[in-house]
Protein backbone atom coordinates (compact mmCIF):
# COMPACT_ATOMS: atom_id res chain seq x y z
CA UNK A 1 0.00 0.00 0.00
CA UNK A 2 1.20 3.46 -0.80
CA UNK A 3 1.58 4.95 2.68
CA UNK A 4 2.21 8.47 1.44
CA UNK A 5 -1.50 8.97 0.99
CA UNK A 6 -2.25 7.94 4.59
CA UNK A 7 -2.20 10.03 7.74
CA UNK A 8 0.32 8.56 10.17
CA UNK A 9 -1.11 8.71 13.69
CA UNK A 10 1.72 6.77 15.34
CA UNK A 11 4.32 4.17 14.33
CA UNK A 12 1.53 1.57 14.53
CA UNK A 13 -1.59 3.47 13.46
CA UNK A 14 -2.38 4.80 9.97
CA UNK A 15 -5.52 6.60 8.96
CA UNK A 16 -7.45 6.70 5.70
CA UNK A 17 -9.31 9.98 5.98
CA UNK A 18 -13.06 9.97 5.47
CA UNK A 19 -13.56 11.19 1.92
CA UNK A 20 -16.29 10.78 -0.70
CA UNK A 21 -18.90 8.34 0.59
CA UNK A 22 -17.01 7.36 3.73
CA UNK A 23 -18.97 8.20 6.90
CA UNK A 24 -15.97 7.61 9.18
CA UNK A 25 -12.23 7.15 8.66
CA UNK A 26 -10.50 3.78 8.45
CA UNK A 27 -7.62 3.07 10.82
CA UNK A 28 -5.02 0.44 10.05
CA UNK A 29 -2.85 -0.99 12.84
CA UNK A 30 0.53 -2.11 11.48
CA UNK A 31 4.18 -1.15 11.32
CA UNK A 32 5.65 0.53 8.27
CA UNK A 33 6.98 -2.70 6.72
CA UNK A 34 3.62 -4.49 7.05
CA UNK A 35 1.88 -1.40 5.66
CA UNK A 36 4.09 -1.34 2.59
CA UNK A 37 3.37 -5.03 1.93
CA UNK A 38 -0.38 -4.69 2.46
CA UNK A 39 -2.69 -4.90 -0.59
CA UNK A 40 -4.10 -1.71 -2.07
CA UNK A 41 -7.35 -3.67 -2.07
CA UNK A 42 -7.39 -3.42 1.74
CA UNK A 43 -7.64 0.36 1.43
CA UNK A 44 -10.50 0.08 -1.06
CA UNK A 45 -12.38 -2.48 1.02
CA UNK A 46 -11.86 -0.67 4.35
CA UNK A 47 -13.09 2.56 2.70
CA UNK A 48 -16.19 0.74 1.45
CA UNK A 49 -16.92 -0.60 4.94
CA UNK A 50 -16.46 2.92 6.36
CA UNK A 51 -19.25 4.03 3.99
CA UNK A 52 -21.89 1.67 5.41
CA UNK A 53 -24.83 3.15 7.36
CA UNK A 54 -24.60 3.39 11.14
CA UNK A 55 -20.88 2.60 11.39
CA UNK A 56 -19.40 3.90 14.67
CA UNK A 57 -16.02 5.66 15.09
CA UNK A 58 -14.05 3.99 12.28
CA UNK A 59 -13.44 0.84 10.27
CA UNK A 60 -10.48 -0.78 12.03
CA UNK A 61 -7.97 -2.96 10.20
CA UNK A 62 -5.70 -5.45 11.98
CA UNK A 63 -1.98 -5.99 11.20
CA UNK A 64 -2.60 -9.30 9.37
CA UNK A 65 -5.12 -7.72 6.98
CA UNK A 66 -5.33 -8.74 3.36
CA UNK A 67 -7.70 -8.57 0.42
CA UNK A 68 -10.96 -10.27 1.32
CA UNK A 69 -14.38 -10.10 -0.28
CA UNK A 70 -16.51 -7.15 0.78
CA UNK A 71 -14.77 -6.57 4.10
CA UNK A 72 -11.00 -6.93 4.20
CA UNK A 73 -9.85 -9.99 6.13
CA UNK A 74 -8.75 -8.42 9.42
CA UNK A 75 -11.57 -5.86 9.33
CA UNK A 76 -13.50 -4.71 12.41
CA UNK A 77 -16.62 -2.54 12.23
CA UNK A 78 -19.27 -1.73 14.83
CA UNK A 79 -22.77 -0.60 13.94
CA UNK A 80 -25.37 1.25 15.99
CA UNK A 81 -28.91 -0.09 15.46
CA UNK A 82 -30.36 3.24 16.61
CA UNK A 83 -28.57 5.08 13.82
CA UNK A 84 -29.63 2.89 10.91
CA UNK A 85 -26.76 0.49 11.56
CA UNK A 86 -26.55 -2.64 9.46
CA UNK A 87 -25.55 -6.26 9.82
CA UNK A 88 -23.61 -7.77 6.93
CA UNK A 89 -23.41 -11.45 5.95
CA UNK A 90 -20.27 -10.59 3.98
CA UNK A 91 -18.86 -8.85 7.06
CA UNK A 92 -19.01 -12.07 9.02
CA UNK A 93 -17.88 -14.33 6.19
CA UNK A 94 -18.93 -17.77 5.06
CA UNK A 95 -17.11 -19.68 7.77
CA UNK A 96 -19.16 -18.28 10.63
CA UNK A 97 -17.31 -18.40 13.97
CA UNK A 98 -14.24 -19.99 12.50
CA UNK A 99 -11.87 -19.88 15.44
CA UNK A 100 -9.13 -21.36 17.55
CA UNK A 101 -9.11 -23.19 20.86
CA UNK A 102 -6.05 -24.13 22.85
CA UNK A 103 -5.64 -26.93 25.38
CA UNK A 104 -2.84 -27.38 27.86
CA UNK A 105 -1.66 -30.95 28.49
CA UNK A 106 0.71 -30.84 31.47
CA UNK A 107 3.12 -32.87 29.30
CA UNK A 108 6.61 -31.76 28.33
CA UNK A 109 8.60 -32.16 25.13
CA UNK A 110 10.49 -35.07 26.72
CA UNK A 111 7.19 -36.86 27.35
CA UNK A 112 5.92 -36.63 23.77
CA UNK A 113 9.10 -36.75 21.68
CA UNK A 114 9.45 -40.58 21.76
CA UNK A 115 5.78 -41.01 20.81
CA UNK A 116 5.48 -38.24 18.23
CA UNK A 117 4.97 -40.49 15.20
CA UNK A 118 2.39 -42.56 17.07
CA UNK A 119 0.54 -39.39 18.12
CA UNK A 120 0.51 -38.19 14.50
CA UNK A 121 -0.87 -41.50 13.21
CA UNK A 122 -3.54 -41.80 15.88
CA UNK A 123 -4.70 -38.19 15.47
CA UNK A 124 -4.81 -38.52 11.67
CA UNK A 125 -6.89 -41.67 12.10
CA UNK A 126 -9.26 -40.25 14.69
CA UNK A 127 -9.86 -36.66 13.53
CA UNK A 128 -12.06 -36.45 10.41
CA UNK A 129 -10.19 -34.03 8.12
CA UNK A 130 -10.30 -32.90 4.51
CA UNK A 131 -12.89 -32.65 1.75
CA UNK A 132 -15.76 -35.10 2.04
CA UNK A 133 -14.82 -36.36 5.50
CA UNK A 134 -17.75 -37.21 7.71
CA UNK A 135 -18.01 -37.17 11.49
CA UNK A 136 -18.96 -40.08 13.70
CA UNK A 137 -22.16 -38.31 14.78
CA UNK A 138 -25.16 -38.82 12.52
CA UNK A 139 -27.80 -36.32 13.57
CA UNK A 140 -31.47 -35.94 12.65
CA UNK A 141 -32.97 -32.61 11.58
CA UNK A 142 -34.44 -32.08 15.08
CA UNK A 143 -31.15 -32.97 16.76
CA UNK A 144 -29.32 -30.42 14.61
CA UNK A 145 -31.69 -27.74 15.93
CA UNK A 146 -30.50 -28.63 19.44
CA UNK A 147 -26.88 -28.14 18.31
CA UNK A 148 -27.77 -24.75 16.82
CA UNK A 149 -29.33 -23.48 20.03
CA UNK A 150 -27.07 -25.34 22.46
CA UNK A 151 -23.58 -24.83 21.03
CA UNK A 152 -20.72 -26.34 23.04
CA UNK A 153 -23.22 -26.74 25.92
CA UNK A 154 -25.14 -29.23 23.76
CA UNK A 155 -21.90 -31.13 23.20
CA UNK A 156 -21.08 -31.21 26.92
CA UNK A 157 -24.62 -32.33 27.81
CA UNK A 158 -24.16 -35.19 25.36
CA UNK A 159 -20.93 -36.36 26.93
CA UNK A 160 -18.35 -34.49 24.85
CA UNK A 161 -16.56 -32.47 27.50
CA UNK A 162 -16.96 -30.88 30.90
CA UNK A 163 -18.61 -27.87 32.53
CA UNK A 164 -15.12 -26.44 32.95
CA UNK A 165 -14.73 -26.40 29.16
CA UNK A 166 -17.79 -24.17 28.86
CA UNK A 167 -16.41 -21.65 31.36
CA UNK A 168 -13.32 -21.42 29.16
CA UNK A 169 -15.19 -20.70 25.93
CA UNK A 170 -16.37 -17.33 24.68
CA UNK A 171 -20.09 -16.86 25.49
CA UNK A 172 -19.68 -19.75 27.96
CA UNK A 173 -20.03 -22.06 24.98
CA UNK A 174 -23.51 -20.96 23.92
CA UNK A 175 -24.63 -17.74 22.29
CA UNK A 176 -28.22 -16.78 23.02
CA UNK A 177 -30.69 -15.56 20.42
CA UNK A 178 -29.95 -18.38 17.95
CA UNK A 179 -33.05 -19.12 15.86
CA UNK A 180 -32.97 -22.44 13.97
CA UNK A 181 -36.13 -21.49 12.08
CA UNK A 182 -34.07 -18.80 10.34
CA UNK A 183 -31.70 -21.48 8.99
CA UNK A 184 -32.60 -23.24 5.72
CA UNK A 185 -33.07 -27.01 5.50
CA UNK A 186 -30.21 -27.05 2.99
CA UNK A 187 -27.87 -25.59 5.63
CA UNK A 188 -29.03 -28.08 8.27
CA UNK A 189 -28.76 -31.07 5.91
CA UNK A 190 -25.13 -30.21 5.16
CA UNK A 191 -24.35 -30.43 8.87
CA UNK A 192 -26.03 -33.73 9.79
CA UNK A 193 -22.75 -35.64 9.49
CA UNK A 194 -20.28 -32.77 9.85
CA UNK A 195 -20.35 -32.06 13.60
CA UNK A 196 -16.88 -33.04 14.81
CA UNK A 197 -15.03 -32.56 11.52
CA UNK A 198 -12.04 -30.33 10.89
CA UNK A 199 -12.73 -29.22 7.31
CA UNK A 200 -9.94 -28.26 4.90
CA UNK A 201 -7.95 -25.25 3.72
CA UNK A 202 -6.17 -23.52 6.59
CA UNK A 203 -7.86 -25.61 9.29
CA UNK A 204 -5.75 -27.84 11.50
CA UNK A 205 -5.21 -29.61 14.76
CA UNK A 206 -1.69 -29.04 16.01
CA UNK A 207 0.50 -30.33 18.80
CA UNK A 208 2.77 -27.47 19.86
CA UNK A 209 5.60 -26.74 22.23
CA UNK A 210 5.76 -23.54 24.29
CA UNK A 211 9.20 -22.18 23.39
CA UNK A 212 9.14 -18.70 24.85
CA UNK A 213 7.27 -16.85 27.59
CA UNK A 214 7.01 -13.07 27.20
CA UNK A 215 4.91 -12.30 30.28
CA UNK A 216 5.34 -14.57 33.32
CA UNK A 217 2.39 -13.21 35.27
CA UNK A 218 -0.13 -13.71 32.51
CA UNK A 219 1.42 -17.03 31.45
CA UNK A 220 0.95 -18.26 35.04
CA UNK A 221 -2.69 -17.20 35.00
CA UNK A 222 -3.12 -19.10 31.72
CA UNK A 223 -1.23 -22.17 33.01
CA UNK A 224 1.48 -21.89 30.34
CA UNK A 225 5.12 -22.86 30.98
CA UNK A 226 8.16 -23.12 28.76
CA UNK A 227 8.62 -26.55 27.14
CA UNK A 228 5.05 -27.49 27.92
CA UNK A 229 2.99 -29.24 25.23
CA UNK A 230 -0.23 -27.58 24.16
CA UNK A 231 -2.75 -28.42 21.42
CA UNK A 232 -4.53 -25.98 19.08
CA UNK A 233 -7.66 -26.65 17.05
CA UNK A 234 -8.52 -24.27 14.20
CA UNK A 235 -11.86 -24.79 12.43
CA UNK A 236 -15.34 -23.36 12.04
CA UNK A 237 -19.01 -23.99 11.41
CA UNK A 238 -18.53 -26.28 8.40
CA UNK A 239 -21.20 -26.71 5.72
CA UNK A 240 -23.91 -25.18 7.85
CA UNK A 241 -22.10 -21.88 8.27
CA UNK A 242 -21.14 -21.76 4.58
CA UNK A 243 -24.76 -22.30 3.54
CA UNK A 244 -26.12 -19.66 5.98
CA UNK A 245 -23.65 -17.15 4.51
CA UNK A 246 -24.63 -18.10 0.95
CA UNK A 247 -28.39 -17.99 1.65
CA UNK A 248 -28.35 -14.62 3.37
CA UNK A 249 -25.90 -12.97 1.01
CA UNK A 250 -28.37 -13.60 -1.81
CA UNK A 251 -31.30 -12.36 0.29
CA UNK A 252 -29.39 -9.22 1.28
CA UNK A 253 -28.19 -8.46 -2.25
CA UNK A 254 -31.73 -8.88 -3.57
CA UNK A 255 -33.33 -6.81 -0.80
CA UNK A 256 -30.73 -4.00 -0.73
CA UNK A 257 -32.73 -1.56 -2.92
CA UNK A 258 -35.84 -2.03 -0.74
CA UNK A 259 -33.75 -1.04 2.28
CA UNK A 260 -32.45 2.02 0.45
CA UNK A 261 -28.94 0.57 0.43
CA UNK A 262 -26.63 1.39 -2.45
CA UNK A 263 -23.80 -1.16 -2.49
CA UNK A 264 -20.47 -0.26 -4.04
CA UNK A 265 -19.61 -3.97 -3.90
CA UNK A 266 -22.32 -6.62 -3.78
CA UNK A 267 -20.23 -8.65 -1.37
CA UNK A 268 -20.93 -5.89 1.19
CA UNK A 269 -24.56 -7.05 1.13
CA UNK A 270 -26.23 -6.12 4.37
CA UNK A 271 -29.55 -5.28 5.96
CA UNK A 272 -30.50 -2.77 8.66
CA UNK A 273 -30.28 -4.32 12.14
CA UNK A 274 -33.78 -3.01 12.70
CA UNK A 275 -35.29 -4.90 9.78
CA UNK A 276 -36.92 -8.30 9.51
CA UNK A 277 -34.09 -9.60 7.28
CA UNK A 278 -31.40 -8.17 9.59
CA UNK A 279 -32.96 -9.90 12.58
CA UNK A 280 -33.38 -13.19 10.71
CA UNK A 281 -29.72 -13.17 9.70
CA UNK A 282 -28.74 -12.42 13.29
CA UNK A 283 -30.78 -15.43 14.45
CA UNK A 284 -29.23 -17.66 11.76
CA UNK A 285 -25.67 -16.36 12.23
CA UNK A 286 -25.89 -17.12 15.96
CA UNK A 287 -26.86 -20.69 15.02
CA UNK A 288 -23.64 -20.74 12.99
CA UNK A 289 -21.66 -19.59 16.05
CA UNK A 290 -23.18 -22.34 18.20
CA UNK A 291 -22.48 -24.89 15.47
CA UNK A 292 -18.80 -23.92 15.40
CA UNK A 293 -18.56 -24.06 19.21
CA UNK A 294 -20.18 -27.53 19.22
CA UNK A 295 -17.85 -28.63 16.43
CA UNK A 296 -14.68 -27.61 18.28
CA UNK A 297 -16.04 -29.20 21.48
CA UNK A 298 -16.67 -32.58 19.80
CA UNK A 299 -13.20 -32.43 18.18
CA UNK A 300 -11.78 -31.78 21.65
CA UNK A 301 -13.45 -34.95 22.88
CA UNK A 302 -11.90 -36.98 20.04
CA UNK A 303 -8.51 -35.47 20.85
CA UNK A 304 -8.88 -36.40 24.52
CA UNK A 305 -9.71 -40.00 23.56
CA UNK A 306 -6.44 -40.23 21.63
CA UNK A 307 -4.45 -38.78 24.53
CA UNK A 308 -6.11 -40.93 27.18
CA UNK A 309 -4.83 -44.00 25.27
CA UNK A 310 -1.30 -42.67 24.87
CA UNK A 311 -0.88 -40.68 28.09
CA UNK A 312 -3.44 -41.96 30.62
CA UNK A 313 -2.32 -39.48 33.27
CA UNK A 314 -2.38 -36.38 31.09
CA UNK A 315 -5.19 -33.91 31.66
CA UNK A 316 -6.16 -31.80 28.64
CA UNK A 317 -7.51 -28.52 30.01
CA UNK A 318 -9.14 -25.99 27.73
CA UNK A 319 -7.35 -22.65 28.03
CA UNK A 320 -9.85 -20.75 25.87
CA UNK A 321 -11.87 -20.84 22.66
CA UNK A 322 -12.07 -17.74 20.47
CA UNK A 323 -13.97 -17.11 17.24
CA UNK A 324 -12.59 -14.78 14.57
CA UNK A 325 -15.46 -14.50 12.03
CA UNK A 326 -18.42 -13.09 13.93
CA UNK A 327 -20.85 -10.31 14.64
CA UNK A 328 -21.36 -9.90 18.39
CA UNK A 329 -23.72 -7.71 20.37
CA UNK A 330 -21.48 -5.81 22.78
CA UNK A 331 -21.63 -2.74 24.99
CA UNK A 332 -18.99 -0.09 24.32
CA UNK A 333 -18.43 3.47 25.43
CA UNK A 334 -19.06 5.88 22.55
CA UNK A 335 -18.62 9.61 23.16
CA UNK A 336 -18.73 8.98 26.91
CA UNK A 337 -21.97 7.01 26.76
CA UNK A 338 -22.59 3.28 27.02
CA UNK A 339 -23.99 1.97 23.72
CA UNK A 340 -25.20 -1.41 22.50
CA UNK A 341 -23.34 -2.10 19.26
CA UNK A 342 -23.03 -4.97 16.81
CA UNK A 343 -19.34 -5.56 16.24
CA UNK A 344 -18.31 -7.38 13.05
CA UNK A 345 -14.94 -9.10 13.25
CA UNK A 346 -13.95 -10.63 9.93
CA UNK A 347 -10.65 -12.38 10.49
CA UNK A 348 -10.15 -10.58 13.80
CA UNK A 349 -10.15 -11.89 17.37
CA UNK A 350 -11.92 -10.37 20.34
CA UNK A 351 -9.33 -8.96 22.72
CA UNK A 352 -11.06 -7.92 25.94
CA UNK A 353 -8.71 -6.69 28.62
CA UNK A 354 -8.57 -7.00 32.41
CA UNK A 355 -11.81 -6.26 34.21
CA UNK A 356 -14.24 -7.46 31.54
CA UNK A 357 -17.06 -8.95 33.59
CA UNK A 358 -17.84 -11.99 31.44
CA UNK A 359 -14.31 -13.39 31.53
CA UNK A 360 -13.61 -16.50 33.66
CA UNK A 361 -12.43 -15.50 37.16
CA UNK A 362 -8.80 -16.51 36.50
CA UNK A 363 -8.56 -14.14 33.51
CA UNK A 364 -10.23 -11.13 35.14
CA UNK A 365 -6.95 -9.54 36.24
CA UNK A 366 -4.99 -10.29 33.05
CA UNK A 367 -7.45 -10.15 30.14
CA UNK A 368 -8.72 -12.86 27.84
CA UNK A 369 -6.42 -15.18 25.90
CA UNK A 370 -6.10 -14.10 22.25
CA UNK A 371 -5.09 -17.14 20.20
CA UNK A 372 -3.16 -16.51 16.99
CA UNK A 373 -2.67 -19.39 14.58
CA UNK A 374 0.48 -19.39 12.50
CA UNK A 375 1.48 -21.79 9.76
CA UNK A 376 2.50 -25.44 10.03
CA UNK A 377 6.16 -24.59 9.72
CA UNK A 378 6.53 -21.44 11.80
CA UNK A 379 4.85 -20.54 15.06
CA UNK A 380 1.63 -19.61 16.78
CA UNK A 381 1.15 -17.19 19.65
CA UNK A 382 -0.88 -16.67 22.77
CA UNK A 383 -1.55 -13.02 23.51
CA UNK A 384 -3.73 -11.33 26.12
CA UNK A 385 -6.51 -8.80 25.67
CA UNK A 386 -5.70 -5.26 26.76
CA UNK A 387 -7.68 -2.36 28.20
CA UNK A 388 -6.29 -0.16 25.39
CA UNK A 389 -7.70 -2.46 22.71
CA UNK A 390 -11.22 -1.83 24.00
CA UNK A 391 -10.76 1.92 23.56
CA UNK A 392 -8.84 1.88 20.25
CA UNK A 393 -10.50 -0.98 18.33
CA UNK A 394 -13.63 -2.14 20.18
CA UNK A 395 -11.48 -4.81 21.85
CA UNK A 396 -10.04 -6.54 18.79
CA UNK A 397 -6.75 -7.96 17.61
CA UNK A 398 -5.28 -9.94 14.72
CA UNK A 399 -6.19 -13.59 14.01
CA UNK A 400 -3.31 -15.20 12.19
CA UNK A 401 -0.37 -14.70 9.92
CA UNK A 402 -2.45 -13.58 6.95
CA UNK A 403 -1.67 -14.80 3.45
CA UNK A 404 1.14 -13.18 1.53
CA UNK A 405 0.49 -14.96 -1.77
CA UNK A 406 -2.34 -16.73 -3.57
CA UNK A 407 -2.92 -20.48 -3.46
CA UNK A 408 -2.16 -20.62 -7.16
CA UNK A 409 1.23 -18.96 -6.70
CA UNK A 410 1.95 -21.28 -3.77
CA UNK A 411 1.31 -24.46 -5.78
CA UNK A 412 3.60 -23.17 -8.52
CA UNK A 413 6.36 -22.49 -6.03
CA UNK A 414 6.15 -25.53 -3.73
CA UNK A 415 5.46 -29.23 -3.85
CA UNK A 416 3.47 -30.79 -0.99
CA UNK A 417 5.70 -33.88 -0.63
CA UNK A 418 8.83 -31.73 -0.40
CA UNK A 419 7.25 -29.62 2.32
CA UNK A 420 6.29 -32.68 4.36
CA UNK A 421 9.82 -34.06 3.96
CA UNK A 422 11.64 -30.86 4.85
CA UNK A 423 9.40 -30.18 7.86
CA UNK A 424 9.92 -33.78 9.05
CA UNK A 425 13.66 -33.07 8.99
CA UNK A 426 12.99 -30.16 11.30
CA UNK A 427 11.01 -32.41 13.64
CA UNK A 428 7.54 -31.31 12.49
CA UNK A 429 5.27 -34.15 11.41
CA UNK A 430 2.48 -33.26 8.95
CA UNK A 431 -0.49 -35.50 8.23
CA UNK A 432 -2.98 -34.49 5.54
CA UNK A 433 -5.21 -36.20 2.97
CA UNK A 434 -3.85 -33.90 0.22
CA UNK A 435 -0.34 -32.94 -0.87
CA UNK A 436 -1.71 -30.13 -3.02
CA UNK A 437 -3.54 -28.80 0.02
CA UNK A 438 -0.19 -28.75 1.86
CA UNK A 439 1.50 -26.86 -0.99
CA UNK A 440 -1.31 -24.28 -0.97
CA UNK A 441 -0.78 -23.85 2.77
CA UNK A 442 3.03 -23.69 2.53
CA UNK A 443 4.54 -21.68 5.39
CA UNK A 444 6.16 -19.35 2.82
CA UNK A 445 2.74 -18.41 1.43
CA UNK A 446 1.99 -16.53 4.64
CA UNK A 447 3.20 -13.28 6.13
CA UNK A 448 5.73 -13.46 8.93
CA UNK A 449 3.49 -14.20 11.90
CA UNK A 450 6.12 -12.81 14.29
CA UNK A 451 5.96 -9.40 12.57
CA UNK A 452 2.15 -9.43 12.72
CA UNK A 453 2.13 -10.33 16.42
CA UNK A 454 4.83 -7.77 17.25
CA UNK A 455 2.75 -5.07 15.53
CA UNK A 456 -0.39 -6.14 17.45
CA UNK A 457 1.60 -6.03 20.69
CA UNK A 458 3.17 -2.62 20.03
CA UNK A 459 -0.13 -1.17 18.82
CA UNK A 460 -1.53 -2.40 22.17
CA UNK A 461 -4.28 -4.40 20.50
CA UNK A 462 -3.11 -7.35 22.62
CA UNK A 463 -0.02 -8.27 24.65
CA UNK A 464 2.40 -11.10 23.83
CA UNK A 465 2.32 -13.96 26.36
CA UNK A 466 3.80 -17.08 24.77
CA UNK A 467 5.25 -18.43 21.54
CA UNK A 468 4.31 -21.91 20.35
CA UNK A 469 6.05 -24.00 17.68
CA UNK A 470 4.46 -26.99 15.94
CA UNK A 471 5.52 -30.62 16.50
CA UNK A 472 2.65 -32.50 14.86
CA UNK A 473 0.07 -31.00 12.51
CA UNK A 474 -3.08 -32.68 11.19
CA UNK A 475 -4.16 -30.56 8.22
CA UNK A 476 -7.62 -30.58 6.78
Amino acid sequence: MNIKTLKKISDYQWQINATAKMRVPAIIFADEALMKDMDEKVREQASNVASLPGIVNACYVMPDAHWGYGFPIGGVAAFDPDKGGIISAGGVGFDIACGVRLLTTGLTVDDVEPKKAEIAEKLAHKIPAGVGSRGKLKLSMSQIDDVLTGGAKWAVENGYGSERDLKHTEEQGQVTGAKPKCVSDHAKKRQLEQVGTLGSGNHYLELQQVTEIFDEKIANAYGLKENQIVISIHCGSRGLGHQIGTDYLKKMVTAAPSHGLELSDRELACAPLNSSLGQKYLGAMRCGINCALANRQVLTHLLREVFSDLFPKAELLLLYDVSHNTCKEETHIVNGKSKKLFVHRKGATRSFGPGYEKLPAEFKDVGQPVLIGGTMGTSSYVLAGTKESVSIAFGSSCHGAGRAMSRRQATKQWNGRDIVYSLANKGILIRSPSYRGIAEEAPGAYKDVCAVVDAADRAKLSAKVAKLVPLVCVKG
Binding site: H66, W67, G68, G130, V131, H242, R407
Partner: protein, 143 residues
Amino acid sequence: MPDKRENKWEHFAHKADMGIRGMGPTKAAAFEQAALAMTAIITDLQKIELENEVQISCDGKDDEILFIDWLSKVIYEMDNRNMLFGRFEVEIDHDQLTARAWGEDIVPEKHEPAVEVKAATYSELRVYKDKNGNWVAQCVVDV
Protein backbone atom coordinates in the same frame (compact mmCIF):
# COMPACT_ATOMS: atom_id res chain seq x y z
CA MET B 1 -10.62 -18.22 -39.80
CA PRO B 2 -10.51 -20.38 -36.70
CA ASP B 3 -13.56 -20.08 -34.50
CA LYS B 4 -12.48 -18.05 -31.49
CA ARG B 5 -15.66 -18.92 -29.65
CA GLU B 6 -14.55 -21.92 -27.67
CA ASN B 7 -15.38 -23.44 -24.36
CA LYS B 8 -12.67 -22.99 -21.79
CA TRP B 9 -12.04 -22.19 -18.16
CA GLU B 10 -9.22 -20.70 -16.12
CA HIS B 11 -8.27 -19.62 -12.64
CA PHE B 12 -7.18 -16.12 -11.68
CA ALA B 13 -5.25 -15.11 -8.60
CA HIS B 14 -6.75 -13.76 -5.40
CA LYS B 15 -4.61 -13.33 -2.28
CA ALA B 16 -6.39 -15.75 0.06
CA ASP B 17 -8.85 -17.45 -2.19
CA MET B 18 -9.21 -18.31 -5.87
CA GLY B 19 -10.79 -16.68 -8.90
CA ILE B 20 -12.67 -18.82 -11.42
CA ARG B 21 -13.59 -17.87 -14.99
CA GLY B 22 -15.67 -19.76 -17.54
CA MET B 23 -15.93 -18.83 -21.22
CA GLY B 24 -18.11 -20.05 -24.07
CA PRO B 25 -20.28 -19.13 -27.03
CA THR B 26 -23.36 -18.91 -24.80
CA LYS B 27 -24.04 -17.76 -21.26
CA ALA B 28 -24.99 -21.32 -20.38
CA ALA B 29 -21.66 -22.61 -21.76
CA ALA B 30 -19.75 -20.02 -19.73
CA PHE B 31 -21.63 -21.13 -16.60
CA GLU B 32 -20.77 -24.79 -17.34
CA GLN B 33 -17.09 -23.93 -17.79
CA ALA B 34 -17.01 -21.87 -14.59
CA ALA B 35 -18.39 -24.84 -12.63
CA LEU B 36 -15.55 -26.96 -14.08
CA ALA B 37 -13.05 -24.26 -13.04
CA MET B 38 -14.48 -24.44 -9.54
CA THR B 39 -14.21 -28.24 -9.40
CA ALA B 40 -10.62 -28.03 -10.66
CA ILE B 41 -9.76 -26.15 -7.44
CA ILE B 42 -10.73 -29.27 -5.53
CA THR B 43 -9.32 -32.02 -7.72
CA ASP B 44 -7.95 -32.95 -11.14
CA LEU B 45 -11.01 -33.07 -13.45
CA GLN B 46 -9.59 -36.13 -15.27
CA LYS B 47 -9.97 -38.17 -12.09
CA ILE B 48 -13.75 -37.77 -11.93
CA GLU B 49 -15.82 -40.55 -13.50
CA LEU B 50 -19.22 -39.57 -14.84
CA GLU B 51 -21.20 -42.32 -13.13
CA ASN B 52 -24.25 -40.58 -11.70
CA GLU B 53 -26.45 -37.74 -12.84
CA VAL B 54 -27.88 -35.03 -10.59
CA GLN B 55 -30.51 -32.43 -11.55
CA ILE B 56 -29.90 -28.87 -10.40
CA SER B 57 -32.13 -25.80 -10.71
CA CYS B 58 -31.90 -22.25 -9.46
CA ASP B 59 -32.90 -18.67 -10.14
CA GLY B 60 -31.64 -15.11 -9.85
CA LYS B 61 -33.04 -11.75 -10.75
CA ASP B 62 -30.03 -10.83 -12.89
CA ASP B 63 -27.18 -12.69 -14.59
CA GLU B 64 -24.74 -12.11 -11.75
CA ILE B 65 -27.08 -13.32 -9.00
CA LEU B 66 -28.06 -16.28 -11.19
CA PHE B 67 -24.38 -17.18 -11.68
CA ILE B 68 -23.67 -17.11 -7.93
CA ASP B 69 -26.82 -19.12 -7.24
CA TRP B 70 -25.73 -21.69 -9.83
CA LEU B 71 -22.29 -22.14 -8.28
CA SER B 72 -23.85 -22.18 -4.78
CA LYS B 73 -26.17 -25.01 -5.80
CA VAL B 74 -23.25 -26.99 -7.24
CA ILE B 75 -21.36 -26.50 -3.96
CA TYR B 76 -24.42 -27.63 -2.01
CA GLU B 77 -24.85 -30.78 -4.13
CA MET B 78 -21.14 -31.64 -3.83
CA ASP B 79 -21.17 -31.23 -0.05
CA ASN B 80 -24.55 -32.77 0.69
CA ARG B 81 -24.08 -35.79 -1.61
CA ASN B 82 -20.34 -36.05 -1.00
CA MET B 83 -19.81 -36.03 -4.77
CA LEU B 84 -17.58 -34.41 -7.38
CA PHE B 85 -18.90 -33.47 -10.81
CA GLY B 86 -16.85 -33.62 -14.01
CA ARG B 87 -19.46 -32.53 -16.57
CA PHE B 88 -22.29 -30.02 -16.60
CA GLU B 89 -25.10 -29.20 -19.04
CA VAL B 90 -26.83 -25.90 -18.33
CA GLU B 91 -29.96 -24.37 -19.82
CA ILE B 92 -30.97 -20.81 -19.02
CA ASP B 93 -34.42 -19.39 -19.61
CA HIS B 94 -34.57 -15.74 -18.49
CA ASP B 95 -33.99 -15.84 -14.71
CA GLN B 96 -34.38 -19.64 -14.41
CA LEU B 97 -31.55 -22.15 -14.74
CA THR B 98 -31.87 -25.91 -15.04
CA ALA B 99 -28.89 -28.19 -15.29
CA ARG B 100 -27.65 -31.74 -15.27
CA ALA B 101 -24.40 -32.64 -13.58
CA TRP B 102 -22.49 -35.91 -13.90
CA GLY B 103 -19.96 -37.23 -11.44
CA GLU B 104 -19.20 -39.72 -8.68
CA ASP B 105 -18.79 -40.09 -4.91
CA ILE B 106 -15.63 -38.57 -3.41
CA VAL B 107 -12.93 -41.16 -2.77
CA PRO B 108 -10.14 -39.32 -0.90
CA GLU B 109 -7.41 -41.77 -1.99
CA LYS B 110 -8.43 -41.44 -5.63
CA HIS B 111 -9.34 -37.78 -5.95
CA GLU B 112 -6.89 -36.39 -3.36
CA PRO B 113 -9.16 -33.35 -2.88
CA ALA B 114 -6.95 -30.35 -2.08
CA VAL B 115 -9.46 -28.03 -0.50
CA GLU B 116 -13.21 -27.65 -0.24
CA VAL B 117 -14.94 -24.65 -1.74
CA LYS B 118 -16.91 -22.92 1.00
CA ALA B 119 -18.86 -20.52 -1.18
CA ALA B 120 -19.05 -18.48 -4.37
CA THR B 121 -18.60 -14.79 -3.57
CA TYR B 122 -19.73 -11.55 -5.24
CA SER B 123 -16.10 -10.44 -5.34
CA GLU B 124 -14.72 -9.83 -8.87
CA LEU B 125 -18.12 -11.04 -10.07
CA ARG B 126 -18.85 -10.37 -13.73
CA VAL B 127 -21.06 -11.98 -16.37
CA TYR B 128 -20.62 -10.35 -19.80
CA LYS B 129 -20.13 -10.81 -23.53
CA ASP B 130 -16.65 -9.87 -24.70
CA LYS B 131 -15.77 -8.10 -27.96
CA ASN B 132 -15.46 -11.44 -29.78
CA GLY B 133 -18.98 -12.37 -28.82
CA ASN B 134 -17.82 -14.86 -26.18
CA TRP B 135 -19.65 -15.06 -22.88
CA VAL B 136 -17.50 -14.76 -19.76
CA ALA B 137 -18.66 -15.60 -16.21
CA GLN B 138 -16.28 -15.10 -13.30
CA CYS B 139 -16.03 -14.60 -9.53
CA VAL B 140 -13.83 -15.34 -6.52
CA VAL B 141 -14.65 -18.44 -4.50
CA ASP B 142 -13.94 -18.76 -0.79
CA VAL B 143 -11.78 -21.76 0.07
